[in-house]
């Protein structure tokens, strides 16, 4: 009976722990419950979760209580003679009606929260989120079209994933470009996808929205306190589904404005940077970094690809063919590869093309400057 009584022990234990005992030291290693989060929706959801949980515990105590009582008392080995009753209409009606009442009691607050979630009041900030295999793109919508947009990729180094290095606490939950939102403001997320279905989830905001190619759906949040909130893609989207996290920085309005201005400034710098000429080594080194971050997921860190799915870079007809064709493939994509023209700056494209043409024994010897990429794009 030890195994079954274990169950009876675990449930109240879990209940007590999650009911608000001060966070124990080991709670960070043995997390038990859903986060309360930092928005009114997430608190309501947490409340619903605890409420239905306690109903389940109560029902469980009654049902399993009767069951264990009968298992201990009504044993043949104790010389019990079996009774022969096999129906009782009143009893059966009771246990049909009581659950219905409990369900109604649950449905009322659940409906209220649902109404809250579906609120369509105007937002202070609209962010268009697009899911890609395997990264997120954020676009801050501006009335005048002065949109800020960037991609957000996993920044955990391969060495940690392959266990060559110790894992950081933010392992797989860190990105190069987090999405910033101001606190105390209503932020509306417009969620869509560019290839397969993804799902954008941040537990602390209780926002989970499927990103569906061709369709747009919305969700909103109003974060009450500053902080960094992490989440992940929650819809299987292919090979690196486990490697496309979401990181939200909720900050004061002033800090948010400064960040936004910084982004605009950076966009101007990128436009400037295309005019410079880089040395082969500069291009190669930067290209290697860009490759490992953007290309290695499919073409593999060693350039060998995955036969049948992702072609190799080594001796590939594109990386060893005409330069224009190579730039074209990176900028415009094709043959199943997504276009990177928007995602990478001309400097990065020039660098990664130079790298691919000279690394992995390709040794083409040529180098491509940012201005070549700009000219290619304009010449189209």
């Amino acid at each position: 009976m030890l195994g079954k009584s274990k169950r009876l022990l675990v449930l109240p234990l879990y209940a007590v722990l999650s009911a608000g005992l001060p966070a124990l030291a080991w709670a960070s290693e043995w997390p038990l419950n859903m986060t309360e989060g930092v928005t009114s929706i997430s608190r309501q959801v947490h409340g619903l979760h605890m409420q239905i949980f306690w109903w389940c515990v109560a029902i469980g105590v009654v049902v399993f209580g009767v069951m264990f009582y009968t298992m201990f008392v009504h044993r043949k080995s104790r010389g019990v003679k079996p009774a022969h009753f096999h129906e009782n209409v009143a009893l059966e009606l009771t246990w049909t009606i009581i659950p219905i009442l409990i369900l109604v009691a649950m449905a009322v607050p659940a409906t209220k929260t649902l109404v809250h979630i579906y609120d369509t009041e105007d937002a202070d900030l609209d962010i268009l989120i697009t899911g890609y295999q395997w990264k997120w793109k954020y676009e801050y919508l501006d009335e005048n079209g002065d949109n800020i947009s960037f991609f957000s990729l996993l920044s955990t180094p391969r060495s940690q994933i392959e266990n060559a290095e110790a894992k950081s606490p933010e392992y797989l939950l860190e990105v190069d470009e987090p999405v910033y939102i101001p606190i105390g403001k209503k932020v509306r997320f417009l969620v869509t996808a560019a290839d397969v279905i993804h799902s954008w989830w941040v537990p602390a905001l209780a926002v989970k929205r499927d990103a569906i190619p061709g369709y747009i759906h919305e969700a909103w949040t109003k974060v009450e306190q500053p902080g960094v909130f992490r989440g992940q893609c929650t819809e299987l989207c292919g090979k690196d589904h486990g490697f496309m996290p979401v990181v939200v920085h909720a900050v004061e309005q002033a800090e948010f404005d400064a960040w936004l201005e910084g982004k605009r400034e950076k966009a101007r710098q990128i436009a400037e940077a295309v005019k410079q000429t880089l040395t082969f080594q500069e291009l190669y080194d930067q290209g290697e970094a860009v490759y490992q971050k953007n290309c290695a997921a499919c073409h593999q860190p060693d350039g060998k690809g995955i036969p049948g799915t992702f072609p190799a870079i080594i001796r590939s007809p594109i990386a060893t063919g005409p330069v224009a064709g190579h730039i074209n493939r990176v900028v415009n994509g094709g043959a199943g590869m997504p276009p990177f023209g928007e995602q990478l700056t001309p400097v990065e494209i020039a660098a990664v093309v130079t790298f691919q043409r000279n690394a992995f024994g390709n040794n083409m010897g040529d180098q491509i400057q940012p201005i070549d990429v700009v000219n290619f794009k304009q010449g189209q």
Binding site: P31, V63, T70, A83, H86, L103, L114, D210, C233, H241
Partner: protein, 516 residues
């Protein structure tokens, strides 16, 4: 008229005998159970620690997909069809299934379907890697080339299931012994009758879904492609219109098994027989109206979200009636705890826990946090493993003496039970916690925050796997050298199947028995 089975391999190839076909179904599902189990252990081995150790993400996704497909279509469904083949004719006093040749066909196409499915793992580009729910466009535009073989395999499995279901309905409706009215049938027969109707209703829907996929992939249609006016969400609607009744297909016969075993070892008739029948029917009907609760985060209109939430919560009522009936059946009985009873009691407790988490998942706003996390994985494994797998195991222990005329070893049986019980809870209970803490499902690697629970789950999974190897040994040992069983086998057993000798002769009830 009385003659024995043919000799050699042709006995099994050409057989139209319901007992032979039932045995083949059961052995086949046992083999698939181990195959799916190996896939599961690959998953658990990779998830033992954070970081990538054993397999690459690409192969990991193939493992999660194949594990789901093999367990659902290869292990659980054929096992229940096998039980139906063996037991339904014997329970209603029929000499055989109504359509014996179709019975043979519906079994023998299965090995080909699964050989084809398994062979995709060795194809270029790998096997199906889009999850057992195969959402478009991941399973269409972005699928590996082997997807066509996957589609064909699903078609064959569907054809097999539909034939099996037609056979069962025909048998139950036409071949009952004189006096065996519908409301006198054992509950296992009732639940299978309702399950068979569910199968006929939804397997064509699944076939339709995969056919539309096939057309999208090869013939330029765009059912699920927004570019041509289609809708990827349509796929999910169609899939879950099949998928939700499908989960009841996997659980209703389990209700029947448990409703046969508990009265036997409580030595007391089943409480509320007719309400059990009505509750089963109610669950089956409701199962057609709740499919979108798998899609709460997909972006449904408010009213859609609300209706599906309420309908889903309503399922708790008939399901609750069943649980209360089983508990009341035990109440004031004279209980003994042989292995089948242990598995049945564990079924009631653990299935109820799975039901609780199901109720939590039904609350649409809360589902925004649970959806596609390990909490969902914990939920459906709590209903499917103690639900389907434990009830099948209980059924095997319960009826094995009737099938082969020999008893299993009670000590080993109980050992098997406790290993499986502990292994199961160790595997799946921590998943509630890792899910609530924020771990998405179907990921090959995770943050160290989830590490402890995952390590426990992995340890539990290997324990559970080892317990099933013991099960195989117990079954073989019973067949080869078990103690002779009596005809009655169990003191408290009632029903026509216990009136025939043990082992059951090759042909039973060639003259129908009289039922009062």
């Amino acid at each position: 008229m009385a003659h024995g089975p043919a000799k050699g391999l042709t006995r099994w190839l050409y057989t139209t005998n319901h007992k032979d076909i039932g045995s083949m179904y059961l052995w086949f599902s046992f083999a698939m159970f181990f195959l799916g189990g190996i896939f599961a252990l690959v998953i658990r081995a990779e998830l033992f620690e954070p970081g990538l150790q054993i397999v690459q993400p690409e192969f990991f996704n193939q493992m999660t997909t194949m594990h789901g497909l093999v367990m659902v279509f290869g292990a659980v469904m054929p096992a229940f069809v096998g039980l139906a083949n063996w037991m339904v004719p014997m329970m209603i006093g029929a000499p055989d299934m109504a359509l014996p040749r179709m019975n043979n066909l519906s079994f023998w196409i299965l090995p080909f379907a699964f050989a084809m499915l398994a062979s995709t793992l060795f194809m270029e580009g790998g096997g199906p890697n889009f999850g057992w729910t195969f959402y478009a466009p991941l399973s269409t535009t972005y699928a590996p080339p082997s997807v066509t073989f996957f589609i064909f395999a699903i078609h064959i499995m569907g054809a097999s299931s539909i034939m099996g279901a037609i056979n069962i309905i025909a048998t139950i409706l036409n071949m009952r012994a004189p006096g065996m009215t519908l409301m006198k049938m054992p509950l296992f027969v009732w639940t299978w009758l309702i399950t068979a109707y569910l199968l006929i209703a939804v397997m064509p829907v699944l076939a339709g879904a995969v056919t539309m996929m096939l057309m999208d992939i090869h013939f330029g249609t765009s059912f699920f492609d927004a570019a041509g006016g289609g809708d990827p969400v349509l796929f999910q609607h169609v899939f879950w219109f099949f998928g939700h009744p499908e989960v009841y297909i996997m659980i209703l016969p389990a209700f029947g098994v448990v409703s046969a075993i508990i009265p036997t070892f409580a030595r007391k008739p089943l409480f509320g027989y007719s309400s059990m029948v009505y509750a089963t029917a109610a669950i089956a009907i409701l199962s057609f109206m709740v499919w979108a609760h798998h899609m709460f985060t997909v972006g449904l209109p408010f009213i859609g979200e609300w209706v599906f939430m309420i309908a889903t919560m309503a399922i708790a009522v008939p399901t609750g009636v069943k649980v209360f009936n089983w508990v009341t059946t035990m109440y004031k009985g004279a209980l003994t705890f042989e292995t089948p009873m242990l598995f049945s009691i564990a079924f009631v407790i653990l299935f109820t826990i799975g039901g609780f988490s199901g109720l939590m998942l039904a609350i649409a706003p809360a589902d925004f946090q649970y959806h596609d996390t390990y909490f969902v994985v914990a939920h459906f494994h709590y209903v499917l493993v103690p639900g389907a797998i434990f009830s099948i195991t209980a059924a095997v222990y319960y009826w094995l003496p009737k099938w082969c005329g020999r008893m299993y070893d009670e000590v080993l049986g109980k050992t098997h039970f406790w290993l499986a019980f502990i292994g199961l809870n160790l595997t799946f209970f921590p998943m509630h916690f890792s899910g609530l803490a924020g771990m998405p499902r179907r990921i090959p690697d995770y943050n160290p925050l989830f590490a402890n629970w995952n390590m426990l789950s992995s340890v539990g999974a290997f324990l559970f796997g080892a317990a099933q190897v013991l099960f195989l040994y117990i079954v073989i040992r019973a067949i080869v050298s078990g103690r002779k069983a009596t005809d009655q086998v169990w003191e408290g057993a009632h029903g026509l199947e216990w009136t025939v000798p043990s082992p059951a002769p090759y042909h039973t009830f060639t003259t129908p028995p009289k039922v009062d």
